[in-house]
């Protein structure tokens, strides 16, 4: 099958979907031996200057309208989600620290997280439970979803703005919740006694793939 026809197939599949599709999924629809990635690059180029663009997001591909035309469409559907400051901050903490428990979120913010905050983020399908931490109490951990990446146009959580700087500054180290307030005189080296955290890196990886 010639490249043109392969492009048409990817074009049709991507146009028909309102969610990103992985190049693996697309390759399945192409004849054996097709190079899905190069087809996608060609398609991306074809649409570079059009009213819709082919973007790589959440490690997958999808068509979306060009940024510069947003003003036209905003009129069409004015339903921007208005998030509370607490929700935005909580979302950012989850995104950068994931997987993270509720107690750890509270530690970073220095204030309790109301159940409603997580609910709102969960309802927006931006966060999801990532499983329980293997520590006493087996607390639930949270992380971001593919929808989160799509919404903010991120290819992976590794592409979060300023991630490297936060890491370099030591702000993404394990959050210590072993003491309930600052009054505890725990020595710093004793601060992370019992948190065999799921490896941060691997969980980011997972998210990119899923």
């Amino acid at each position: 099958m010639e490249v043109h026809e392969q492009m048409r197939i990817c074009e049709a599949l991507l146009f028909a979907s309102n969610r990103p599709l992985s190049s693996i999924a697309l390759a399945e629809q192409l004849p054996e031996g097709s190079d899905a990635d190069s087809i996608l690059k060609a398609l991306q180029e074809k649409y570079a200057d059009a009213g819709v663009n082919l973007v790589e997001v959440a490690g997958k591909w999808m068509f979306q309208t060009a940024f510069d035309l947003a003003f036209l469409l905003r009129k069409e559907e004015e339903k921007e989600r208005k998030l509370s400051r607490a929700a935005i901050e909580t979302l950012a903490i989850i995104a950068y620290h994931q997987p993270i428990t509720r107690a750890e979120i509270e530690e970073v913010r220095g204030v309790g997280v109301s159940k409603g905050t997580l609910d709102v983020l969960m309802e927006a399908t931006w966060i999801k439970p990532l499983g329980r931490r293997r520590t006493p109490g087996r607390p639930m951990t949270y992380g971001t979803t593919e929808d989160f990446l799509v919404h903010f146009g991120l290819n992976s959580v590794k592409d979060l703005p300023g991630l490297a700087e936060l890491k370099a500054a030591g702000f993404l180290e394990n959050v210590n919740t072993s003491r309930l307030n600052l009054l505890s005189d725990d020595k710093p080296e004793e601060e992370q006694p019992d948190l065999p955290m799921d490896d941060d890196e691997s969980s980011s990886e997972e998210q990119v793939i899923s």
Binding site: A16, S17, M62, Q64, A66, G110, L182
Partner: protein
Amino acid sequence: MNEIENNDIDEFELPDPRLGKMDDVSEEERLIVDIDGFEGPLDVLLTLSRTQKVDLKQISILDLVKQYLEFVQQARELRLELAADYLVMAAWLAYLKSRLLLPEEENEDELSAEELAARLTYQLQRLGAIRDRAAELMSRNQMGRDMFARGAPEPVIVTRHHTYELSLYDLLKAYSEQKTRGAAADIRIHKRAVYTLDKAIERLSEMLGLAIDWTDLEQFMPSDIDDPQIIRSAKASMFTASLELAKNGKADIIQKQLFGPLFIRGRKQENAEDEE
């Protein structure tokens, strides 16, 4: 003086809790007491450090402590309900302040005042950093605001065909098991040793013709059996047979005492005919 003024304010006329102005500090240093707007004591501290344009990296903890304590004091003067964690923080900061001012005691088990201050600074910096990132995140192009996905996606219609995995082995095994079960369930009920009622009636009728007087029912029991089960069965059948014959008017039964022997005698043929 502040105290007096504030106490004069009728609480109900407070248009807004942002009234708490620190008249003795310059305009830009003024912290607006808006307890509702704060997200906990760390937030207050962070906001304080920012309004004071204090670089957190070189933060003067003592200044920050002083301002926080003033903030809490003010909120109290305004009779604002302060959540417990604000007060806990105030207490801790007061403790930290005293530790910082007093000469450090050598104590292996306790963190030094500097370490405690550093810990606070770290927390504030971390919160500040994540807050900046949050702002950055929200300023990104967002789906549904800055870009839009296909409005009328064409769904992929999936037709599911079910295939069933089953090997010939499974099939034969199921059949065999079913058969095995069927065989086991094929219970043969052994013929129970009984002396039938018909037989008893026949025997009794025959023998009653021979006996003219009252005779113990026991006398009519078949004598050719020795199986205790059959004897039991015969007893029951003979008794039932006697009742049956009495009912049909062919015999009379009499029992003289409780649990005593049953006496039976055949009725005269004529009597039976009379009755007809």
